[in-house]
């Protein structure tokens, strides 16, 4: 119970940070609170929110997946290449292939970690990021591809209703996904095993949890989420381009998770907190665009936010350790 209360307190702080940012931006630009801009923020949140689901699972296990962004781009490029080179125009088939490919990449990441015993997922997923970058360029022959089937673009392009230009379908999917994942992590045996494995891997193993399978599951799911993000990105921009695999999408996903209460030391993090983190990043980026802020300033602010988030994680870990020491002393 105590843990839950401290988590809620932290998330209250995150909500407050989000509110303060929104107020500041609303005062700086009167268009910020227009219904259409709020819908734009939801659209801008969804891509990172897909990636952050997988990233959160990996972070809970004290791991990391640095290949999520490149995986998303690769899956999008794979769909583009299949459409261009093999004439596959069935959106359902393209999306299915993308999800399987993304999942397979995640499964390989998990296998490298658990079965081939690579020392830390940082190494394997960083390597995988480069592999996927190259693969994305290879399958598309370094060309940008557009004109995807409407069904592929549906997730990132479709809206419902008329308020503010329509509520984005992609964000509705995100909300549903986050609720499902929240229930999964808190109410199912596998979900709890993920927290256990992140809290203490050896103790989990000794208590009968197959930690290798749990970790492989997390990385596979992370790959599937990356594939969904790739599909979403096609709907948003209408194109895929292998060169985009170098973009720091993974940094945004990590930042969202850490801002939302996840920890590099594992065992922590919630879907609600991660959603708040994603919204903060999206509001920040939206604000940069609304105020036409230079890249230089954008980089400084985003960098500071990430440093601040990690600093908060360190402070939280220190406070937890102190609390445990005090409790043990009593």
């Amino acid at each position: 119970m105590t843990k839950k209360k401290s988590g809620s307190g932290f998330q209250l702080g995150t909500i407050l940070a989000l509110v303060i940012m929104c107020v500041f931006l609303a005062l700086s630009n009167s268009n910020f609170y227009s219904p259409s801009n709020i819908m734009s923020i939801f659209k801008q949140t969804a891509f990172n929110a897909f990636l952050a689901v997988g990233m959160l699972l990996c972070l809970i296990t004290a791991g990391i997946d640095l290949s999520v962004g490149a995986n998303a781009v690769f899956c999008a490029c794979l769909m583009g290449a299949l459409k261009e080179s093999f004439g596959i125009n069935s959106g359902i088939l393209l999306m299915l292939i993308a999800v399987v490919a993304g999942g397979l990449v995640g499964f390989i990441n998990g296998t490298l970690l658990t079965r081939l015993h690579l020392p830390h997922p940082f190494v394997s997923t960083l390597g995988m990021k480069n592999v996927l970058w190259g693969m994305a360029l290879l399958v598309t022959s370094s060309k940008m591809i557009n004109n995807f089937p409407k069904s592929v673009e549906f997730l990132g392009n479709q809206t419902i209703g008329t308020f503010g230009g329509g509520f984005p379908v992609g964000f509705i999917v995100i909300l549903v996904l986050y609720v499902i994942m929240h229930i999964f992590l808190g109410k199912t045996a596998l979900g709890r095993s993920i927290y256990c494995a992140g809290g203490n891997m050896e103790a989990s193993r000794l208590s009968g949890i197959n930690t290798a399978n749990v970790l492989t599951f997390c990385y596979t799911l992370s790959g599937i989420m990356a594939a969904l993000a790739g599909i979403y990105s096609i709907g948003r921009s209408g194109i895929c381009n292998g060169a985009n695999a170098t973009q720091p999408y993974d940094t945004d996903a990590i930042a969202a998770c850490i801002i939302g209460g996840a920890s590099f030391t594992g065992g922590k993090g919630t879907m609600f907190g991660t959603m708040l983190g994603c919204l903060i990043i999206a509001v920040l980026r939206n604000g940069f665009a609304m105020l036409s802020i230079d890249s230089s300033v954008q980089n400084i602010v985003l960098g500071l936010v990430i440093i601040l988030a990690v600093l908060m994680d360190v402070i939280r870990a220190q406070m937890d350790a102190k609390r445990r020491r005090l409790a043990a002393g009593k």
Partner: protein
């Protein structure tokens, strides 16, 4: 683990031996067969072509042009290389450094990622060097093949502003969705766009430049912000590349105020031609990548043969619009076929 290590080592050794073996086999072949130089009467040349990257469609055309020269001239061997991306400055630095010390290379074609850095690296080089796409301000560089990004941008800016007038815009305002801030190509194109828009009597909104890091999804975010800040519409949205122009046009689709907006891209790649034909992106500035590749190798060969080169060899930029998109598309498909 030891077995795996041993196997890897064995593989590496085997490959090394194979590599050594193949060289040994080549040597007698050279000695028994008369060299092409003697048989055809033409001097053989090894040209190193170091591009900004080879990982993009545009640079693929430059590669195709350079390789086409090699196909047309069997006595010229062209080796094309490029960094993994247009921001991998250190990779290109290493490539240039390595090739500058390679005695087998007779001449160089360089598309510098950072022209000033390359100018320092080639100091004292006596073999012919030709700059392509972006000029290098150094006495060692005999010629520059290309159109400056600034001139090409100006051409596009003027064409976009004029089209906007034809579409009924009375006030020609232009906002750029830019690439990577600080990147020399981005800055040059930006200056060109601004000059072109202003030359045509429009206003380039310098204070409202949006930086989207040359990425389509960030361009969508920028376009959404532009529509929030300018609900009345903007006459011209120019982007640093076609990815962003297409994404911006897509984001504005359905917004009545932007129905007549001119979306100007850069590069004129195949997907842009398709987008223009589909009525999404309006027009694109294209540089003659294939011609640049071909002409730059030709210039180095001519320099090696003792010819004095012009300081500037123009590879003209042009505009792709709905009237020329189909023709351009077929041309590009032919280059890569």
């Amino acid at each position: 683990m030891k077995k795996f290590f041993a196997l890897t080592m064995a593989l590496v050794m085997a490959l090394s031996l194979m590599a050594c073996g193949s060289k040994k086999e080549e040597a007698p072949a050279e000695s028994t067969n008369p060299p092409a130089e003697e048989s055809s009467g033409e001097q053989e040349y090894n040209i190193s072509v170091i591009l900004k990257t080879t990982s993009s469609e545009y640079w693929g055309y430059v590669v195709a042009g350079a390789e086409a020269y090699m196909a047309d001239h069997p006595n010229v061997h062209v080796e094309v290389k490029g960094a993994t991306s247009e921001t991998a400055y250190d990779e290109q630095q290493n490539m240039i450094e390595t090739d500058m010390n390679n005695a087998d290379i007779d001449g160089y074609v360089i598309a510098p990622l950072q022209a000033d850095m390359v100018a320092n690296m080639i100091k004292g080089q006596t073999k012919p060097i030709v700059a392509v796409d972006t000029n290098i301000d150094a006495p060692e560089v005999l010629s520059f093949v290309g159109t400056s990004n600034e001139d090409a941008g100006k051409l596009g800016g003027e064409a976009a502003a004029n089209l906007a007038k034809e579409r009924g815009w009375e006030e020609i305002k232009c906002i750029e969705i830019a690439g990577v801030q600080g990147d020399s190509t981005n800055e040059a194109r930006m200056r060109g766009y601004a000059a072109g828009i202003e030359a045509a009597g429009g206003t380039f909104l310098h204070d409202e430049i949006q930086y989207a890091n040359a990425v389509a999804d960030q361009a969508v975010t920028c376009m959404e912000a532009i529509m929030q800040n300018h609900p009345e519409g903007i006459a011209v949205i120019c982007a640093n590349n076609d990815d962003m122009a297409m994404a911006a046009a897509r984001a504005a689709a359905g917004n009545e105020a932007y129905a007549n907006t001119v979306f100007l891209g850069f590069d004129g790649i195949q997907s842009a031609c398709k987008s223009i034909l589909a009525g999404e992106e309006t027009m694109s500035v294209c540089q003659a990548g294939y011609d640049m590749g071909y002409q730059s190798v030709d210039a180095v060969v001519r320099a090696l043969q003792g010819e004095t080169l012009d300081e500037f060899i123009e590879a003209k930029a042009s505009i792709v619009d709905p009237d020329t998109a189909q023709e351009r598309l077929e041309l590009l498909q032919g280059y890569l076929a």
